[in-house]
Symmetry: C2
Subunit: 357 residues, 2 copies
Amino acid sequence: MKTEQIILAVDAMGGDNAPDIVIDGIRLALRDFAKTGKDVFFKLFGDENKVKPLLAKYRIPEDKYELIHTPDYIKMDDKVAIALRSGKKSSLWLANEAVKRGEASAVVSSGNTGCLMAFSKVILGTMSGIHRPALVSLMPTKTGVCVMLDLGANTECDARNLVEFAIMGDAYAKAVLKIGKPSIGILNIGSEEMKGKEELRQASRILRQTALAENFVGFVEPDDIGKNRVDVVVADGFSGNIALKAIEGTARLVFGLLKEYIKGSLLAKIGLPMFIPALKRMKNKMNPGRYNGAMFIGLKGISIKSHGGSDAFGFANALKVSVDAVSHDLKGCISTQLDNINFDEIEQRLANENEQK
Amino acid sequence: MKTEQIILAVDAMGGDNAPDIVIDGIRLALRDFAKTGKDVFFKLFGDENKVKPLLAKYRIPEDKYELIHTPDYIKMDDKVAIALRSGKKSSLWLANEAVKRGEASAVVSSGNTGCLMAFSKVILGTMSGIHRPALVSLMPTKTGVCVMLDLGANTECDARNLVEFAIMGDAYAKAVLKIGKPSIGILNIGSEEMKGKEELRQASRILRQTALAENFVGFVEPDDIGKNRVDVVVADGFSGNIALKAIEGTARLVFGLLKEYIKGSLLAKIGLPMFIPALKRMKNKMNPGRYNGAMFIGLKGISIKSHGGSDAFGFANALKVSVDAVSHDLKGCISTQLDNINFDEIEQRLANENEQK
């Protein structure tokens, strides 16, 4: 049986260490795809003077990619408004257009988050009922993983956005984690109803009046994420990004200290081989690279953001996330879930909330 | 030489597990104070029917405490506005009053954060130039510790509050870490100047025009905390609390998983004794209880908040933080530092910023 080929549009120029880690990441991902029997082809958008030597260096097979020469690219600190006007020849824009034209099934970039979000929104469009896409990813927990969004697509969020994130997170958990009725919580600084900011309390009140009420547990705190208190953690993009980076930073700090303390202890150094399996399991579980690759959920196409500072291992993971999103038809699954949502009812609840103000 | 006695006013009724962990914490702290030669006396405010049996159970020497019978107490979900009106006979209120009257040098509570802040602010008053106190504490980093504030006293913060937090954090680092010119960063979701929320960008612009400019590095991200990129991390209270709880939660998650993985590996179990010293060092470094006890900085008296869910070990640490704050004359040191600040200049900068809007 021949498996269907999945074509990814890759922005080779985005990210702090592009295009090197992009091409090295493709090498690592291809090795993995070969093992799992996946046929993946890469449409690479980037400056051929920079990308070509790397394709040779990392020995990417010629039948696995097409290089579309794109000398123009978006820089990490480019402003969205300007990029939208003058970035239409950039690798990021053209990679998005390839998805829109059906020449690729997903776009992947380690580049400027704001520009990727804006380009994908303009080119691919948002799903019906959704005003703003959110960055969604899986996070490690004690007993497995949970879904968290928004991880940083939207700096300012209102109650409407948060309610939409909850709806999309619910759909994502159903599609990816295969949970029938995922439990949902809103990230806050306390679990009591009166805690936190008004938009969070408003979103909580609205969710309690919708079809999701049954599985909505209310507010959760950042230390509840690892405890797996809920399947879906809904956050405003600012707090979600703060929590994500604090979690990643702490995991890195603990690993770094553990390494140092083992080096500093003769006994531990001697005993190290006996601990390698347990430490490897830990590293595999908590390595931020293993969770790299967040999807812009709520778009009419698949757009995947890899961390700007990602290494090749992390970028390879983002490519795997993209392939999984395509092969599980995540876009279709989420769209089907959203069809079940009564957005008119939510509009009414929002209107009632605003009236009471 | 006789050391001077330090008197702490303790709200015995505040916190999820009060008064049990409060009295058990006093037992642990007394053991530590005996070792370090500190003479500490506790004025306990609480319901004697509940507290007395615990004083017997934990064998607290009678010459180490006075129990002031206070049947009335503030609950964890009491609203601040109501507590301010009707809570004037509560243990929390009376403990603050004891500091105000000079009968104790610091108040300590694991109770309701909002009410502790409000009571301390009303009873003790704020330092000259400071509009809102902030919760400050030390956080573990790769190479030591850093100062972080606000950890959750203020849910909504404007540029003025953030600038004042920076000034107080600078003073705290000078007093506690003995750093001549502490480096300062504002917590944000990106290091670029255009990132994040307007109040953060505004505070950054103002700080660049003040005497602190030389040591202000701009924005830092949550993963920079553990890297010790700066000595002082300034955050709005909401983000600061999110980051704090994410860091604590991740440390707990990693320890829990490590325990589980070691149990699951026969080799690791056999080798465990060789690893105990390194693991102990790690636990000592990252244990959230070790950093429990945050000070409300900016008040004309010392008020210490212990985590609501703290255990006895954590509460004992909050008591040690209180004693250190008193014996290092933190209040005096910070007040002296604030005397050097040109608040009129900052008012002018704020006015200019608001004009430009």
